[in-house]
């Protein structure tokens, strides 16, 4: 397991999705397992994997680069605020990621709003309002 910081920009350019997912599979991440339901607010500085069901929001703590990934079969209704987002399950709500990469995998079903800087979708079912934002250094204002 690599201890290097996540560099999804590089990963997006140089690797396929599988490589990116391997990169974010970090044993110290938080995880909401399949069969588990969580309602509330979840803040983390390391990252969060969602395989279960969430109503509420999941956020990277300020100044952290904590990624958030949802798995096939998962369900999230609410908000995700993170500089690295990968959606592979059902999502209904707001994704706010003005810094890094937002990935929507083929297994994902997404409704709501995605505020993104870099977006990659591989055949997912999207019924969303996509809003381009850019808070990266030197990036354009939203």
């Amino acid at each position: 397991m690599t201890s290097e910081p996540l560099t999804w920009d590089v990963a997006l350019q140089e690797h396929d999705l599988t490589s990116i997912l391997t990169t974010v599979s970090e044993k110290h991440f938080s995880r909401i397992g399949g069969g588990m339901t969580f309602e509330g607010a979840f803040f983390t500085a390391t990252g969060c994997d969602v395989a279960g069901s969430v109503k509420g929001h999941i956020s990277a703590l300020p100044a952290s680069t904590a990624p958030v990934r949802t798995h096939p079969g998962s369900s999230v209704c609410g908000e995700i605020h993170s500089p690295h987002v990968a959606l592979y399950g059902q999502f209904d709500g707001l994704v706010h990621n003005p810094v890094g990469v937002t990935i929507v995998g083929a297994s994902a079903t997404v409704k709501g709003v995605i505020r993104y800087r870099i977006l990659r979708s591989d055949g997912a079912l999207l019924d969303t309002n996509l809003i381009k934002v850019d808070n990266a250094p030197g990036g354009a204002a939203p």
């Binding site: 938080s30 995880r31 069969g35 588990m36 339901t37 979840f42 952290s64």
Partner: protein, 124 residues
Amino acid sequence: MMLSLVSRDALASIDTVIDASARVSGNFHSTGAAGIRVDGRFKGSICLGPDSIVFISKDAVVEDAELCADVVVVAGYVQGKVTARKAFEAIDAAHVRGAVECQGRLCLHPGSKMDALLSVSPSH
């Protein structure tokens, strides 16, 4: 970490984790076999079904909480109400404040501290 009532396999099967950096408030629930480990800070309730385990790690802080599972193991700080349907174990420097209801086995290790109303009954 010495555990008397819980197997390492049971701990290894835990698939929900609140990492050490995390600040979480809300409710976790599951009707099937499930496990959750809290390494960070948590406020709220964790109510799990049969064959479930809740593990509160050393350095974890759990406040205003309601914990309900077959097995509850505490190594950190818990303030609130704990219900263990089969076993409760306080290990390391565990500190539990509030109320603990245990149906079945109970083990309080020497380093642990209980400031709690304790109710123990045989498991059914």
